[in-house]
Point group: C2
Chain length 154, copies 2
DNA sequence: CAAAATTAAATTGGGCACAATGTAAATTAC
DNA sequence: GTAATTTACATTGTGCCCAATTTAATTTTG
């Protein structure tokens, strides 16, 4: 029972670095988003809706899911909470009743104004060069593309 | 209501790249860990226990928590499931009853043998240079240190 | 057109993650 | 040496994440 195996050392698992950093970043968002009464996944959903616009181009549940890589099991209850909070409407599409359209309300759009401060405030007091983050983001996105483009072997 | 604000564009949020990649990596682990009947956080806990060893040096709940940055609200039920599965024992320390020691069972140690295949199999069929991942891991760890070393301003 | 297949969401259930609170044991301060 | 504090876990409750199943609407096929 060789206990010390560098292959299994926690510090050698890149996945753990990713997991830990992701939670640390989320934790840093938390107090800022609390001022908007949003959780972090709710914030991401609102970003998608704000981006998408209104009317006929309004996002469907599946659009948000495709963008965020989340399924209806996650999104349906989350969206219901956002609706209860008055930030959006969930409306069945008339000519295809399978589809649910997501329409930000006036309050939902107003929240966007407050949200604009979030990204800058997040970096506040963090001594990290923006350039470094840009490079990291590129690398993360590139790896995501690799993972999404190749099925697990086996 | 300026809808298009690059500051709020999903693709400009490094946090989202991190969030999405983390889930994609976890998803890639899932089928491999399913063969060990472990979830991903359970796997991380077992990595810590295997690293820690047995006896007097056995890990306490708080040791695992410090290593993985998880609190007892997360760990207690997770550890109970691992105990029910026969992978470890949770034992109150005799000379300080506040402390719970975590002792891998024989089955827990045997699982380590099977786990050794996991890291290599994860990379299987993934066309990414190891060097690139090492560099990324360094960067992730460095940023985690920055985040953990500075309180949110405000 | 009617049956079969597909699609879009919703539901159910298990397992994290975390805040807040509770509880018991140990430590410290007087 | 007792009271106050601290420490280590456990518990409770909310919300996410995902697999599996269900339901209803639409599309495709024969």
């Amino acid at each position: 029972m060789a206990q010390k195996d560098p292959v299994l050392a926690l510090d050698n698992q890149i996945c753990f670095a990713l997991y830990a950093l992701n939670r640390a970043v989320t934790a840093r968002y938390r107090p800022l988003l609390a001022e908007l009464e949003l959780t972090y996944p709710q914030y991401l959903v609102m970003l998608v809706l704000w981006e998408q616009g209104a009317g006929a181009e309004s996002a469907r549940v599946s659009d948000v899911g495709a963008r965020l890589r989340l399924d209806s099991g996650t999104l349906t209850p989350l969206l219901k909470r956002l609706e209860e909070r008055g930030l959006l409407l969930r409306q069945r599409q008339a000519d295809d009743e399978r589809v649910v359209r997501l329409l930000p309300t006036e309050a939902g759009w107003q929240l966007q104004e407050k949200a604009r401060q979030v990204p800058a405030r997040l970096m506040c007091g963090l001594d990290v060069e923006p350039q470094r983050l840009m490079a990291l983001q590129q690398e993360l996105r590139s790896l995501l593309a690799v993972l999404e483009g190749s099925a697990p072997s086996d």
